[in-house]
């Protein structure tokens, strides 16, 4: 589903990615852990063409990205319809209700009717346990609820890959649990290929089929959670 070859990326003189080679098979959940500044988030942003890279190539969900050139607008948009992303800070649209947040992309990008998009949106909100908050605005939701809406929002498109960037880091301990429940359920379904960047080794251990440890722009170690995370201890 995802193949990354010799990925290099620099920000000015600073090397962010220094030769990343990796593969993720369909239905797999990969957790990326490691110290801050190790290139985890940068790699994730390269995967859905939010960030360009200098050298190397990425094949993801049938799309090809190459280094040195920005993906064409059309490619980037088509790719993002099947590769979703969840952000640490949620980035919900504050002027839209929870339901409108979820229904926006189906309506605008997939050009579905409002009724159809909202019916599907309600189902998605129900799946993340927020059926009763459909008409709430983001400012009326707790952090955990916001992140669950954000997950539902990314799921509203016909996803094949879901990228999660520190989805629980901005949350209190109690709220983390409700978001973890949602992610756990998604991972168990095995319908989606997931790449999860996280600081929480417990989350990685529980959900991931494989773990990559990124350090200084490279994948320093990889393997099953048991091998890699136990060794890291």
């Amino acid at each position: 589903m995802i193949r990354i070859r010799a990925l290099h990326k620099r920000y000015g003189s600073r090397v962010a990615l220094d030769g990343v080679d990796a593969e993720v098979v369909a239905g797999e959940c990969v957790a990326i852990v490691g110290p801050s500044g190790g290139g985890k988030s940068t790699l994730l942003r390269c995967l859905n063409a939010l960030a360009p890279f200098d050298e190397g190539a990425i094949d993801i969900a049938g799309f090809s990205l190459v280094g040195g050139a920005r993906a064409s607008r059309a490619t980037a948009r088509a790719l993002r319809e099947v590769v979703g992303m969840v952000f640490q800070e949620f980035h919900l649209f504050p002027h839209l209700t929870a339901l409108e947040n979820v229904a926006l992309a189906p309506r605008v990008v997939a050009r579905r009717g409002r009724a159809e998009a909202e019916t599907a949106g309600r189902e998605l909100l129900a799946r993340v346990g927020l059926a009763d908050r459909a008409q709430s605005y983001p400012s009326e939701l707790s952090g955990g609820q916001k992140q669950r809406v954000a997950i539902a929002r990314s799921m509203a498109m016909p996803l094949r890959v879901l990228l999660l960037d520190e989805p629980t880091s901005a949350l209190d301990r109690e709220m983390r649990e409700e978001v973890r429940d949602v992610i756990r359920a998604l991972a168990r379904e095995k319908a989606l290929t997931m790449v999860l960047v996280t600081h929480e080794t417990s989350l990685a251990r529980e959900l991931a089929d494989r773990v990559w440890i990124m350090r200084e722009g490279r994948i320093a170690e990889q393997g099953s959670p048991a091998e890699v995370l136990e060794a890291a201890r």
Binding site: F87, L104, M157
Partner: protein, 507 residues
Amino acid sequence: MRLLASLWIACAAMATACGAWADGLSTVRERGELVWGGDLQGGEPYVFEDPKDPTKIVGFEVDIAAAIARELGLRGARFFQVQWSNLVPSLERGDMDVALNGLEDTPERRARLRLSRPYFIYHEVLAVRRETPYRSLDDLRGKRVGTLNQTYAFELLETRPVETVLYEGQEEPYFDLQQGRVDAVFLDHLIAERYGCPLAGIDCVATPVRGSYVVGLRREDATLAAAVDDAVGRMIASGELRRILEGWHLWDDAQRELASGVVSPQQDGGPAWPAASPSAATREPAYGAASLDRRQVALFLQGAGVTALLSLAAFAIAMPLGMLLAAARMGAGRIIQIVATAYVELLRGTPVLLQLYVLYYGLAPVLKLGPLTAATLGLGLNYAAYEAEVYRGALMAVPRGQAEAAAALGLGPWQTLRHVMLPQAMRTALPAVTNDFVSLLKDSSLVSVLTVVELTKRMTIAAVEIRSWLGPGLLCAALYFVMSFPLSRLSRRLEAKLENDPHPRLA
């Protein structure tokens, strides 16, 4: 210190004016010079800046004023510049001793001022485009006819079933006639022959409406008026007037009649013009007894309507164009960015008045816009530049993550702008936008230079007719206030709401 000094000067000026009211002739004699008022914009041959030496003014009225001063035994005459349509109020205010600038003898002026015996006979000329069928005022029912504000020609047109279009300068009406924006121009032959008739494609038709130029004086200056009358009489008798007019190539049969006393309007107290125009003779005085009555109030309301509609239409251009410019400055390619930035800086960096002139008069050979269209477009294009900056600031205040989240969902740049960025930016921008609309409402008064009669223009016209700026001024202010105050309040409430709620929703 400076304030004290200016106060003192103001007091001194008022004292001078009061002195003039007390007894014109003795004040003028004490001062040793005659202060006469006119408008340099009236141009050749009346009074204008010498092309060879713009610090000097010349014209046949300059010579007449000097001659009158000489006859009065004074050292000389000093010119006072005033906008022509305000000549009479300015005289009444005491800015000058006499008004001497193509002032026509009319019953209304006769009732309001003291008028000297005439020093010049004019006739009204109708200028038309050669290819049009119009050759008299009667042919022009319902058509647009241009003239100057506060002229006798204007009064006459007001009694006719034509649409009168008012100008402040005498070149513009003929320019618009050439451009087809008016169907005829009706003005004194002195103006027509210099500024209209020589133009390509323009035909001039002399009309039987005749009149005379006179010196205007305040009603209370009886002694000065008598002295000026005597002075003009002596100038006619001695041939001085003839020499002056010949010097300006203005001597003709009509002036010969004036000098020979055949036309001597002031002797029977009647108007200078023979009742050549029946409608002029039988009509009600257009503003002889004008007051702030129902008719005037209705005209003010109409002016306020023009102001409101004009402002709304201009803002309807400014908002979308401003959004487009803001988006172009932030997102589009390099060249579009430069073009958008240049547009914003150019329109913010030059006076809107200049832009209106360029749009209406400057571009006319290639783009013939009507006055209302040009006014709406001019204000709209100008305010778009300001709106663009407001929206740009508001767009920059939207957190970066919003655009990223939208992109990650597969929204294109325009969809992101339309569904995510603009709705949020507009909420931030709304108080500033409301304020800008209030500014636009007030700036719309500038379009009177394009002959649009909106609220402020209506006020200046009424003020001259009613002989008071107070009533019309207050009424005008009240109407602007009624339109702008609710908006200012709304803006303040929105601001307060924004402060309390980071994500306000529109009701």
